[in-house]
Symmetry: C2
């Protein structure tokens, strides 16, 4: 009946994991001289994947408020890593794309992400890793409550 989860509630366990991974990512970013914070790096990676989207859509995708994203984009734009260009169909909106200078930084970010993933999943079989990933995504679908999970 009572599952093992009682001993360390799921939410706290996930929070702990997030803190641990964030900490490692922070150190790695600091050491790799990108000058980015974790959230800026995440934003940059999202822009890479969802290039040309407008800020509202991107913020929604990232699960944060538009204003929060705006701040991250300010700094990325100032660093010459992304470009905000006006949407020709809607003069209120801006479309976010990568600047050329983003390429090497993204490469660095991807390397660090892979390294952390390897540390986190050390000793996991490919099967276990996939299973974990699938379960986490199901959980995400349960919580993000805004429409069905699409893939890309």
């Amino acid at each position: 009946m009572k599952s093992a989860a009682a001993s360390r509630p799921m939410g706290f366990l996930i929070g702990d994991l997030a803190r641990l991974m964030r900490r490692r990512f922070e150190r790695r970013l600091a050491g790799s001289d990108t000058g980015l914070t974790v959230s800026e790096a995440r934003t940059l990676a999202m822009v890479e994947h969802y290039s040309g989207w407008r800020q509202t859509a991107l913020a929604d995708r990232m699960g944060i408020e538009p204003m929060t994203l705006s701040g991250f984009l300010d700094r990325l734009e100032a660093a010459g890593l992304v470009v905000r260009k006006p949407d020709p169909n809607d003069r209120r909106a801006k479309l976010i794309t990568l600047a050329p200078a983003a390429a090497p930084v993204l490469e660095r970010i991807h390397e660090e992400m892979v390294a952390i993933r390897l540390e986190a999943l050390e000793g996991f079989s490919e099967e276990d890793a996939d299973r974990l990933y699938a379960l986490l995504q199901r959980m995400h679908g349960n919580l993000c409550c805004c429409g069905p999970e699409e893939l890309s």
Copy 2:
């Protein structure tokens, strides 16, 4: 390793989940009139489970710096929910225990945690939930072995 994880890196997925769960917990705490933040609630729950521990040990267990814990305990103590009493064996140390007033607050916290867990794991079989929990704990074990100062 070319698994599905490439599409949304594990670290970001876990970070997203942590943000989603934290947000729900925040709303619930605000609505349930405990006057606590998420981390204060977590600290209180830890004190319940590890009653009589000294602060350093508790902080280590929680994966945060002693100074960070100290602040949370300050507020919990001011709210009359925990007690710091001197360790009879070591006058530098203080042992943290629950104050009587903590009982109803903890009951409230447990209710909210259960509710969020149900939301997050909706549609999960007991088996899936246990499997997820076990995988997350293995991952935690992989990551938690080094303190924040010893990463490189």
